[in-house]
Point group: C2
Chain length 190, copies 2
DNA sequence: TTCTGAATGTGATGTAGGTCACACAGCTAC
DNA sequence: GTAGCTGTGTGACCTACATCACATTCAGAA
């Protein structure tokens, strides 16, 4: 499926745009290709865009003072990624985004999103519900962190996104779960 | 300050409503009073409303199979609370909400919020940005969980919301930080 | 007053997961 | 080929936090 069709199907799930409106909506997105390992947003960057994944896989992550990496999100096709804190507050990136595999994205700038939202009521509706869903998901993950041990969280992740098991190195899955790769590896034993 | 004024000031930070529009906006909210300890949403309830706190303090929390409580959020004046998963997806509550102190809220139903959002573009704008900010905050808390030990998270919490230290029992602060009350208590020693 | 029950502190001990160290397999580059 | 790099497993040991038990303080009710 073509990028435009993928976005259209995705948007239609949350908002009602006429074909003309969607053409206008789509006109603000820029297609970009990145190679495996390539950085899209690096710590310290000015952040101007968010990215809608068409194919491939991104990760958004944080690296602490001890150089330990924590993954906030894997972004598969039809997912969005950016450093939203930096994007919304016009600050420098503290979250980085890079490519786990060769990836094709549609890029939307902050200014263009706001323009779209102010001109098209249904665009504002779409982005409200996109974030509503993200908010609920983030809170679910928070609860899972507080309530469940690593094994539960790992099984939960694999149940939600079985495709990750094959695409993503275990080291990165450990960084998403917030444990060491050694501990994740030892889960097989039990 | 009166409830209407508090909401007006709060909304004005994110959206531009004329006085007439705000009157209309406000007309959908119902004022409610609750006593300390009173439940607003209990596990298993149908969830129809979200609550804007005027005075007092709420907590939203989850209780697991071992009867351990985890606090998702303290809601102080000008904060919103509900079980958003249940509210948005029309499912039964898994998150409960109750009163830490006597509390006055403005209650908005799901249907009324959607009506407002579809009729008033600026209302949709307001709710989009409210959730955007919540989303960013939830992700910050997630990172803090992965990256920081209990002491850091406790200090972070007190720096952000110093008023909690006096209002809220330590047991509840421990439930927010995701540690036992004993461990929290022992932080004084170090 | 005395009793009761929250809220908090603190000692002893258990455990999940972290850290360090090393091994080995599979790739790619030359 | 072999050198080097990434990904993964696993043993030995360490640490942060949990759990259980008990003590203390304070507020409100009888």
């Amino acid at each position: 499926m073509e990028a435009k069709e993928i976005l259209k199907t995705h948007v239609a799930k949350l908002a009602s745009l006429t074909d003309d409106q969607f053409e206008y909506f789509f006109s603000f997105f820029k297609k970009q290709h990145f190679k495996k390992g390539q950085a899209i947003i690096s710590e310290g960057d000015a952040v101007d865009c968010e990215y809608f994944v068409i194919s491939g896989c991104l990760k958004s992550f944080f690296i602490n003072d001890d150089l330990k990496m924590f993954i906030l999100q894997f972004a598969m096709p039809t997912w969005w990624a950016s450093d939203y804190n930096a994007l919304y507050n016009h600050t420098r990136a503290t979250i980085s985004v890079d490519c786990i595999s060769d990836t094709e994205v549609l890029c939307l700038s902050n200014a263009d999103r706001e323009k779209l939202c102010s001109e098209l009521h249904q665009a504002e509706h779409f982005f409200r519900w996109r974030t509503n869903k993200g908010y609920v998901a983030a809170n679910k993950r928070l609860l899972s962190f507080m309530n469940n041990n690593v094994k539960c969280r790992y099984e939960e992740l694999l149940k939600l996104y079985p495709e990750l098991y094959n695409i993503v190195p275990k080291t990165l899955i450990a960084a998403y779960l917030g444990v060491s790769r050694e501990t994740l590896s030892r889960l097989h034993q039990a």
